[in-house]
């Protein structure tokens, strides 16, 4: 957990423009928000940064945001038991990475008890219908389609094969990105090598999967990685010296991916406002807990910029102020 760190660096901070503003209403007593996440790839750095920043912003308003790492296996059960434990600890709001529709069962039971629940990373209709407060994420299917169009462009409209690497077939977000991509390729000269290979958000697994694709398909023109560790695929392409012919498209504006974009081994990534998944969700939960009001929209779509060498300057978090929309 990060309660201790946020205590250390917890001097007050100003809200970020262009993001939900904390309510002016003052709560009677401290309002604790739990943000449940994981720690298996660099994507989480930004989510946690958002949650920690929200802690500093809300600190002056009797708000407190705790970052809780639920474990190392991202699945419905693990998330579910972390949500229930947060409830048992008396958190007024719980934000969590939604691992599947199954987590809506918890939203339903806890919302009925008056707890505010926020889901991030993937959009599900059930969040709203179960009484959730906010569901903040990129529209993943659409992102997949974007990736397909960029891939077609990048390959110069040549015919060829594309390798697909997913986190797990059972991870809904990753799966929507895969579906969107496959549908997006329809009608083009690009065809997927197969349905895809699982890499469990690991750069090393992504690396070996990419290697297999490079070897098995001499007509490979692209690799699409839907989840954590896409820079592993870039490494494989660079190791095979095929940056020119094989374009790698992945997700998340992380240090490692930016590095790969800079050195040319990766063509581009799609962002998903990971910072906002921590910050926006925490602030909205706080507001709802204090005011008792739901936000206008439960389902909120995050911006999903496509970042390449050409527009990197507008999206590089290392050169922009913390929390700038579009830079994570």
């Amino acid at each position: 957990g990060g309660g201790d760190e946020s205590g250390g660096s917890g001097e007050a901070a100003d809200p970020i423009a262009g993001r939900p503003a904390p309510t002016d209403q003052a709560p009677d007593s401290e309002v604790k928000i739990a943000m449940i996440g994981f720690a298996n790839n660099p994507y989480w750095v930004s989510v946690k940064a958002g949650a920690d920043y929200a802690d500093r912003v809300l600190g002056g308003k009797k708000g407190k945001v705790d970052w809780i790492v639920a474990g190392d296996n991202i699945d419905v059960q693990t998330v579910s038991s972390a949500i229930r434990a947060a409830d048992a600890q008396g958190y007024k709001g719980v934000g969590f990475f939604i691992a599947g529709e199954g987590n809506c069962a918890d939203i339903k039971t806890l919302a009925a008890k008056g707890i505010k629940l926020g889901a991030y990373n993937t959009l599900f209709d059930c969040v709203g219908t179960s009484g959730g407060t906010i569901n903040y994420a990129q529209e993943q299917y659409k992102a997949g389609q974007t990736a397909a169009q960029e891939m077609i462009k990048a390959s110069g409209d040549k015919a060829g094969k594309v390798g697909i690497i997913v986190s797990q077939f059972t991870a809904p977000g990753s799966e929507q990105r895969r579906q969107g991509f496959i549908d997006g390729l329809k009608g083009s000269k690009l065809t997927p090598v197969n349905q895809g290979v699982e890499a469990k958000d690991s750069a090393s697994n992504t690396f070996s999967a990419a290697q297999n694709f490079l070897q098995s398909s001499p007509d490979l023109v692209g690799i699409y990685a839907t989840a954590g560790g896409p820079f592993g695929a870039a490494q494989a392409v660079a190791a095979a010296n095929k940056q020119e012919t094989v374009k790698v498209i992945g997700y998340d504006i992380t240090t490692e991916n930016i590095e790969a974009i800079k050195n040319g081994s990766m063509y581009g990534v799609i962002g998903q406002d990971a910072f906002g998944q921590g910050y926006n969700v925490a602030v909205e939960l706080f507001n709802a807990a204090v005011t008792g009001q739901q936000p206008a929209q439960v389902k909120q779509e995050a911006v999903a910029p496509f970042v390449t060498k050409d527009n990197l300057a507008e999206h590089d978090p290392s050169t922009l102020p913390l929390g700038t929309p579009g830079a994570s």
Partner: protein, 343 residues
């Protein structure tokens, strides 16, 4: 005099009925109580009824299978395939339901698939004379592969008619799944200590030759033991998937190790013959309490993983110690041993 003797013997029988399992279980229970008190000092939420139900609910799935694993370990075998079989049962139930079947039929088919997997494992172990470690290692892959083939990797919706199994609560808030778990633990303990089958399992694990000459159907008992754990994995699969309403292909990934840990912490011996269902129950609870405590105390989940590992090793060392197998660790003996080692 004969009457008092009879009474004394009566009492000693009752004492004896417990003595088999006594020490490991009381030790374990003590550890859990101390841990719970410590945690509740730091966070008064721990001992809230809700949280305790919550803890129990998180151990249900591992615990149900640990009941079966205890039988398997007592029979001097092991089953590594339980996590995959759990998933296979769940997605089978989901997809049978998806193809239009009655929810109860779907659940029954799911559990049946678990039993069948166990039967397959048992048959190969008995007829192929292959160690169950290897057979179930293979089954772990096979069942997972089948699971993914069935689902195409996508979650299967579970019938909402069954959702009370995983989500329902009765008697003022006790989760139905917890009740199922407790009933299975009780039945398991009875099956182990009070039925012909249970004693057969103990016999074949303790002394295969004696069991054979004693006329016990050794091969068949072994097969049935695997059928039992397969069935329980199937039940766990239904509980697991109705908790969240969907059956996922990666359900139960890596659970085999948790299940074995629970059974071993509970006193089951890898060398067969010994084990206790109540012990396995407490073992599963200890793991659950540890996990919950780490979340409640806002400690790193990584420390949690580390300490679970330590608990497993310590439980095993404790078991060796209470069996008097650690006398060689007396300082004097140790010195001798060390000099001899160099010899």
């Amino acid at each position: 005099m004969s009457a008092t003797l009879a009474k004394r013997q009566e009492r000693s029988w009752k004492e004896g009925a417990l003595s088999l399992v006594k020490r490991q279980e009381t030790g374990l229970f003590g550890v859990i109580v101390v841990l719970a008190l410590l945690v509740s000092v730091a966070n008064e939420n721990f001992l809230r009824k809700d949280n305790l139900y919550n803890v129990l609910q998180t151990v249900v799935v591992v615990g149900i299978i640990a009941v079966g694993q205890t039988f398997v370990l007592i029979a001097k075998e092991i089953d590594l395939s339980v996590g995959s079989v759990l998933a296979l049962s769940a997605v089978t139930a989901g997809s049978v339901y998806g193809s239009g079947a009655n929810p109860w039929v779907a659940a029954a088919v799911g559990v049946g698939v678990g039993a069948l997997s166990g039967f397959a494992v048992g048959t190969v172990v008995v007829l192929g004379r292959v160690s169950s470690f290897i057979v179930t290692l293979g089954m772990l892959s096979i069942a997972r592969g089948l699971t993914q083939l069935i689902t195409g990797g996508l979650p299967q919706t579970m019938p909402s008619e069954l959702s009370f199994i995983g989500q329902g609560r009765v008697f003022g808030g006790i989760p139905v799944s917890v009740i199922i778990f407790l009933v299975l633990v009780l039945l398991g303990q009875l099956l182990l200590t009070r039925t012909v089958f249970g004693l057969r399992v103990t016999a074949i694990g303790d002394n295969d030759a004696a069991a054979r000459t004693g006329g016990i159907p050794v091969a068949w008992t072994r097969v049935l033991t695997f059928v039992l754990i397969g069935t329980l994995a199937g039940v766990a699969g239904i509980v697991f998937s109705t908790q969240v309403g969907v059956a996922e292909a990666q359900a139960g990934l890596g659970y085999e190790l948790d299940v074995i840990a629970a059974a071993v912490i509970g006193g089951a011996s890898l060398s067969g013959g010994r084990g206790s269902i109540i012990g396995a129950f407490l073992g599963a609870c200890l793991l659950g309490v540890l996990r919950n405590a780490f979340i409640l105390l806002a400690l790193s989940p990584f420390l949690q993983q580390l300490s679970i590992g330590l608990v497993i090793v310590l439980a095993a060392i404790f078991d060796q110690w209470r069996q008097g197998n650690l006398r060689h660790l007396h300082p004097r003996t140790l010195r001798q041993q060390l000099t001899r080692r160099k010899a």
